[in-house]
Each structure stands twice: as C-alpha cells, then as structure tokens.
Symmetry: none
Subunit: 539 residues, 2 copies
C-alpha cells in the first residue's frame, strides 16, 4: 500500500519569521487546536533552543486535547566539537517533552566551511550524533536538510552523504529544504526522484516562495515521491513566505487524488485560513487562492447567467468543498441576473418580472455612472436594494455641520454637527485628526445616547480615490469605508466632488447598515425602521 502523505505545519515557527507576523502563546495554542481539527499531522511549535519563550508553549500544549496532531520541536544539530549530551540546543528539545523533533543540518559544503566554520567530516558527525541522540531518547526525528537543493547542485555527493548520515542514525524522515526558495519545479522533481532512489526512509519537502513557485514545487515533489510536506498556513514566512498549505491541501486532495484530510475537514479550510489571518492580525487578501473572498467571485452579466446554470464550467472546483462560497459582483457590466442573484443571496425575494427590478437596475447604472462602485461596498448595495423595494432605515438625519480646520502652529480640526434623531434636534461638537475623523467623532457623540449600538462598531479602513484625473483636487472622489464590530466587517461607499460629502455618505451608510443588521437589538422605543417612511420621526 502506498504510504500516506503527511502534512507538517510550521506556521508557529517558520511562519512567525514573516515580517509583521507575531503570535502570543495564547494565539499559538488556538492555532494548534485549529490545525489539529483540520487534520494536520505535525505541528511545529517553536525552537526551544533559540527562543526560551517557546518552552511555555510546549508546556501548555500538553494540556491541549489534540485528536491526532503530533506537536514537534525545532532545533539544529549539535555544535561543532562538543558532545551531544552537552549541547544546550538538543537538551532543550528533550526538556520540551515533545514526542517528535525536526532538526536541521547543513548539506551544502560551502555553508559548512563558511557559515559553520568547521570541517566537512565534523558536519557529518554532527548530523549523525544529533539524530542518534534524539532517537535514543525515544523521539521521532525529522532531519531538515538545509539548502539541500543548492547543495545538491553544487556538490551532489556531499549533499547525499549528509542525508544518508541522518538515515543511518535512524531518522524517520528526510525533509529536503529549498531554503533560499530559488529552485524551479522541474529541478525539484528531478532531485526528489533521485533522492527517493538513494534512501529508503520517507522523503519530505520544505519550500519557500521566493519565485512564486512554492506550491508548485511542493506538488512536484509529491509527484516525484515525497510523502511529507512542510508549509505554513496562508504562506506566512520569511521574505516571500513558505509554501502555503492552504493551497497545497486542496490541490492534493481535489486535483491530484492524494487524500490528506477528510472531506469534512477540508470544508473547514476557508474558516481556518481566515481564523489564522485574524489571530496573526493580517488582512486576509481578497485574492487568496481557494479561500479568499474573491476566489469564487464572478463579474459580468452574460457570464453570470451561465454560471448560475452550470457553475462547474466556470469554477475549477465547487467552493463548498473547501468551505468557501460563490459570489456575484455587482459591477458596471451588471445585468438582471446579477441583481436577482444578489437579492436572493441577501434573502430578498424579487420576481424578475416585477417592475421594481428594472427600476433597481436603472438606479444602479445611474449611481455607477456617478462613480459609485458597489463591488467593494456590499453594505451600501444592500441598503440601496432594500430601500429600492420600500424598506426604510432612516435612524437619523443630518441637519447641518460646520468643520473648521486650522493651521496655526499645529493642525487642528473641530466640528459642529446638528442631527435629527428620533424627533429630537441634537447638536454636538468634537475634534479629530482631520475633517472626516472629527465628523465621525461628532456623529457618534450625537447618536450614541439614542443608539448605544454605535459604540460597538468602529472604522477599520478608509480609502479615497479620485475618479477622473485631469481636474486635480476638484475631481470627483470616491470614498470607501470599512467598518467592523470586531467580528464581521462591512464596506460602504460615498461619491461626490466634495471629499467631505463623499465621506459623510459612506459614514452614514456604515452606521445605518450596522443598525439594520442589529435591528433586533435596538431598544424597543428606538425602533424606527421597517415602518413606512412617513412614520419615521424626522423633522
């Protein structure tokens, strides 16, 4: 029977080498739990010999009730010319209490003499002794052959001698590392194939994405006989990152018929990818393959009607299989089928013969002509749609505002706003780091006492784009605002020749959208929506 391909995740170790990625012990424990649920076989938790903080993780990881994943520690072979028993790095691996360890060693002769500054013979001894020591202490041992592909290309015999020393010492797996990330898929295939002929234990692969080839290289290695794949979630890692397990897993399972997790686990992939982005405080890229928000997004009217009829001919896999979903974007090319699909998605029942559909399409086109672009502002689009069919969400209306920005030494901005809220006239003042920030502050102050819900949400991104160059600061501007309550995010849009006006529309929509979604939580006497417009207490 063919040996099963095993997944080895190093998000918690190599992933945190990525610029801007930093995980607390709590985060790491949560991620380990999630990876285990997803069916990952090995979870590399840290490098106890280099980072003493990692000990805490290993200590607490023992309390995790993992179903199958093996927690592993990372480390290096012993230092030159000392006994393994006296090597603090190997000692700490044993102290961490793990059942498996990955230790890296040099396989490129140049690195032995230049970086390690030792002899080629001593390096072979270091590999042999270190692997043997850990094996004698009962650990499963993965030998990470650092710079293996470069070493192989420069001095093949020495690279092979190095990994064979690990095999002879009892290593369970030889993970060949493309440490600099510069190897092409065809070279990976050829070299992995040769290695599998030379050794009789499991061969593994560890790729980096410097050439945007890490996923392809990992798949080629599996085709050539590798049965152990190292990578990180979302491709985090030093420089351009490590091989992205989020893409490798579905490629293996759905494209290459190499099962690595169960179907149910695969359906958790999108959720896990996003969860880890969130814990790592990274904005999930919309265009992330497989799990991104745009990965199964369709644009264009004519195309959309066909997608709805035969999705399999426009999608390389069914998004449900990895827990993602199809989205239809409303864009300039939008037609009736886009609109109907969108409405259905939002739970709004619309008959295609209803005259309101034609009116809505007309309205969308008109707004797009003015510079609105709803594909990145789905919350504004939902409001437009719902108001188009007669629902009303006027929780407050603006009477007027004055914003004063001054440069007199410092730059300061102050604002005075007058709103109508539930029949009351409310006047407030606030300051901020610019006109929009000040306006946002004043608005919250004014409505917060009527709708405390507003304090749960905040703006998480603000983008301004000038639509038609040529008029400089007098051009039409499009403002996109992203808001969040810490759990979900939503985007709204405003367009005007006046950037403050555009910002106001986007701000207003953002708050109205949140109130609409949380309608049931507005206090009873505050509910003014879902009733005919005439009944709204405005004046």
């Amino acid at each position: 029977m063919e040996e099963q391909v095993k997944l080895y995740d190093t998000t918690l170790r190599d992933g945190t080498q990525g610029e801007g990625i930093s995980l607390s012990v709590e985060d790491k424990l949560k991620i380990a739990k999630k990876l285990d649920q997803l069916g990952i076989h090995y979870i590399e938790g840290g490098w106890p010999g280099s980072n003493p903080k990692d000990m805490n993780f290993f200590e607490r990881a023992k309390e995790l009730q993992l179903e199958q994943a093996v927690i592993t520690a990372f480390g290096s072979t012993r230092r030159p010319n000392i006994e393994t028993e006296r090597d603090p790095n190997l000692q700490r691996i044993l102290d961490s209490g793990v059942k498996a360890a990955a230790i890296f060693g040099k396989t490129w002769d140049f690195h032995v003499t230049e970086a390690l500054q030792t002899t080629l013979e001593e390096n072979i001894a270091m590999i042999y002794d270190s692997v043997r020591y850990l094996k004698e202490n009962g650990l499963e041992v993965i030998f990470d052959a650092e710079h293996f592909f470069d070493g192989y290309k420069h001095h093949r015999d020495y690279a092979l001698e190095a990994i064979k020393a690990a095999e002879k010492a009892g290593a369970d797996c030889l993970a060949l590392c493309d440490t600099n990330g510069g190897t092409l898929p065809s070279e990976i295939a050829e070299i992995v194939k040769h290695v599998t002929e030379e050794v009789s234990i499991t061969v593994g692969i560890h790729c980096h994405n410097d050439c945007e080839l890490a996923v392809a290289n990992s798949l080629e290695a599996v085709k050539a006989g590798a049965r152990h794949i190292q990578g990180t979630f979302n491709g985090y890692g030093e420089r351009s990152g490590n091989a992205n397990l989020v893409s490798i897993i579905p490629n293996l399972q759905l494209k290459m018929n190499v099962p690595v997790v169960s179907d149910e686990q695969l359906q958790q992939l999108t959720n896990a990818s996003k969860y880890i982005h969130e814990l790592a405080n990274q904005t999930p890229p919309n265009n992330q393959p497989f799990t991104g928000k745009s990965a199964f997004a369709h644009k264009g009217g004519m195309h959309v009607s066909a997608v709805l009829k035969h999705p399999e001919t426009y999608e390389h896999i069914q998004p449900e299989k990895i827990g993602n979903e199809r989205r239809v974007l409303v864009s300039e090319l939008s037609g009736q089928s886009n609109l109907l699909f969108k409405a259905k998605e939002l739970g709004i029942s619309l008959d295609k013969n209803d005259p309101v559909v034609k009116e809505l399409i007309q309205k969308v086109k008109e707004m797009e002509h003015r510079g609105y672009q709803y594909e990145a502002a789905e919350a504004s689009f939902e409001l437009l749609l719902r108001e188009g069919i007669g629902e009303s969400y006027k929780y407050f209306t603006l009477d007027h505002f004055n914003i004063l920005t001054q440069k007199d030494g410092d730059f300061t901005t102050e604002v005075l706003v007058k709103l109508n809220v539930q029949g009351d006239s409310v006047v407030t003042a606030a300051e901020g780091n610019g006109p929009v920030n000040a306006l946002d502050h004043a608005l919250r102050k004014a409505i917060g006492e009527y709708y405390p819900l507003v304090n749960e949400m905040y703006l998480s991104d603000y983008k301004v784009r000038v639509l038609d160059g040529g008029d400089g600061t007098a051009s039409t501007v499009r403002v996109l605002i992203e808001s969040t309550n810490g759990k979900t995010t939503w985007s709204t849009i405003g367009v005007s020749t006046n950037v403050i006006e555009a910002s106001w529309y986007a701000l207003e929509d953002s708050i109205r959208y949140y109130f609409m979604k949380e309608e049931h939580r507005l206090e009873k006497n505050n509910v003014v929506a879902f009733i005919p417009e005439a009944g709204v207490k405005n004046h």
Copy 2:
C-alpha cells in the same frame, strides 16, 4: 534560431477585472508608458466592444511615444449567425485603430452549446470568420482559446479543431487559456507540447492563479514550447488573479535563460511593480516575490555576517538585478547605493565618503518610518535630496490657514490663508469643492501675483491611502499628488495623521518642485532660491 518569447500584458484589461482594481484613462496611459519602458511586447488596452470608455484610451494611446510595445484591443469572435461586417464588437476593434487584436472564442464544446447556445459548426465558423476578417483588415491577430485546457480534457478533437480554424484563418498566435485556473503544471506541459506538434504558428499561454500555480504553469508552458505569455502586473485579475508577470519575467530571464527584456529593463522591475500598485491604489504586499519589501530581507542573527560576506549563498538571485535591495537589520550600507544612483541620475554629484550621504540615508529612513514612500513621489525625493545637500527652495512659507466646510443644504468649503511671500504677508480667501481643493485655490491666488508660473501648472491626480488600518479615520494617511504643466508630470507626497496637513505638504512640494525646475524663468527680482537659506526673505 529559436523564436523569442514575447510578453503580453493585460493589466489594463483582465487586471481591472480584479475586485477593487479600477484605473482611470490617465492611469492606464501611464501604466502603458511604464510597461513599454520595461520592454513588454504587447499591451492589451481594453475591450472596446464591451466597454465604450475604453475607446478613449485607444484614442489617447496613439499619442504615446512607445518604443516597442504594440497596443492591442481585446474582443470576442462574432456573434452567431451574423456577418462579421455587421458585428459591432469586431467593428469597434477596427474603429479603435489598433495594429493588433486578441479575440477570444470558445474551444470547449459544452460552452458552445450551453453558454453561446449555438452549434459546434457555427462556432468554428465564428472563429474562422472573425480571425480572417481582422487579418483582411491588416491586423496582427492573437486568438485567445477560452477554456482550452478544460475543453481539451473533455473533448480533445473539438478543442483542436477550434484552434486550427483560427490558424487556417491566418491567426498569428494561438493563446491557450486556462480560464478557470484549475489546471496543474504537468497537465499544462503535456497539452501545450501536444498543441505545438499539431499547429505551426506561435503558441501562447494565459493562466489564472486559482490554484496558486499560475506562474509555474506559465513557465511549464514555455518549457513545452509556448513563445507568448499573457499575464498582468502584480498578478491583478478576476478571482485569484492572472499569472503574475512580475514573477514570470525574472524566472525566465535569470533562472531559465530565456531572455525577454534587457538587463537594464529588468533592473526597473521593482520600481514598475510598486508604481503600478500605487496607481491602482493597492497596498504593495511586503512579501511579494522578487519585488516586495521583504523579498530580500534578512533577519538578524548569526547568519547576517555570512550574508554580507557571501550573499549568493543566502539569496536565490542578486536583488540588484531586478532593482530590489537586500535589507539587513544592522546594515548602514543598505540604501547607500540606491541613494548614490538616484543622485547621479538627477545630476547631483555626491561622494560616497561625504558625511552628508550618511545623514541623507538617515533622513530617508526616518521619513520612511513615518510613512513616506518615495517610489511614486520622485519630485519630493529630489527636493529632499537637494535640500539635504544645502540647496534651498523656500519660495513662500505658510503662516496659517482656516478652512470651513459646511453642510447646510449644499456642501461648501471656504478657506482663509496667510502666507509669507518674498517678505510680504499675503492673506487670501477662496472656496472649493473640498478642503484640499479650496486650499489649492487660495494658495495659487496668494502666490500667483509674485510667481505667475504657478498658473501654468495644475493638479492632475490626488490619492489618499490610510497606512495602518485598525484606527479608521484616525490613522496615518499618505497623500500623493500628481501635477502637470500639460507637458510633463511630477509627483509629490505628504504624510500625517491629519489628511489636510498631509495634503498641504504634497501641495507645497508640488509647487516648489515646479519653480525649482523652471528657476530660470522666475522673474529676476523674484529669484530667491539657490541662495543660502539665511538670505531668504522670510519673517
């Protein structure tokens, strides 16, 4: 002699299908110019038959003085059952005045009968007629074989029959499209190889990144005989994007010995990648392969000295070859060569041992830490450099301003500005369509009578980007302003937590830069620059 591999860029067409990517005609013209300088062979400008706005681009692109790139139009084969002469889509391609066109047609039988709802025979006729018609009208024709790989796998004979119809009709190139992005590298290699045996014209490749394999697939296609590669800059495109030319180009040139651009052009790759991110208002991903800020970043630790001694053993390519740079934590050397290169380019003679070089590097690092990024703001960078070596360009200084934005019915903005110009205190007021526009008006009014030159220039674009999400409207913002005198354009930058302050810095730099460049045209009694700072009439 082996046929040269040609690069076909579709950033301006397929790239803008990416969610959140939107380019004005001005942006498109600038990108076309940049791509031409970089040595791209074909630039697909748009789809005139589907998007009438694109006509404007083709009209204006005729005025671009391109060195080698061929501007192409995109379109589809004629509709079923009409004559090519009456097909509005083909007609618009001819109207656009391009010398080359890419038209797509169906090669997957299922799509013919289901999406097009016509017969298999009629589809073949549509392909033949459309290619022939464009050829008869003197165009170079690329046939984009839509869904080719899926079509080939489902019904090989029909897929081949379809592309052969295009060949027979005189097509110059058959671009095989992995439209759904679901094909594996090994399949791409096998199918491309077979096609090159079946046809005698150039075979091309068009990949999508749904499996994170688009770059590998494109390279495999070249290995299998493809000689025309379609992709986008930074991998923009629908869903998970198109094949990323930014990664494909150096892989071909530096790894596979397939020269596609000159060495000098390759050195512009990082700059071009960033420039296009800026115009598309996208945050450049730090971990972007080859051109990202982290792509050659080495974290501190034991291997830093080894990296400096033998960078080739820790880096898969020399970053200078693609215009990127090594970043090392401890390195004071980082940035020096760039700075000296830039200075030389601007005609400023700087000796690398001059202590001012160290000061300048320190200053640039400090500004970058605050959020400045000079890639897309070379005018501000030149001012920084020149002022750093003691030149002075203080034509006017700001005393204070008040900006009042009101919403009371309409949105209005009025501003009062007080400046010091050539020893005089000048107070003016103006209004505008927003705070920055009003400030711009007032500034011009105030200095126009001292420096009539200001009336020759105007702002042509204005962009705002929030730098660190999470604080919404209170975050640091970066403002980029582009100005023009109708002949040349220049870009300036300002950064602050206050958008008005950031805009002010960019505005001020924009005017100062123009005056500096046109120094010789300032009236004699107005010349206050190029003299020691102490002599400037400020108070």
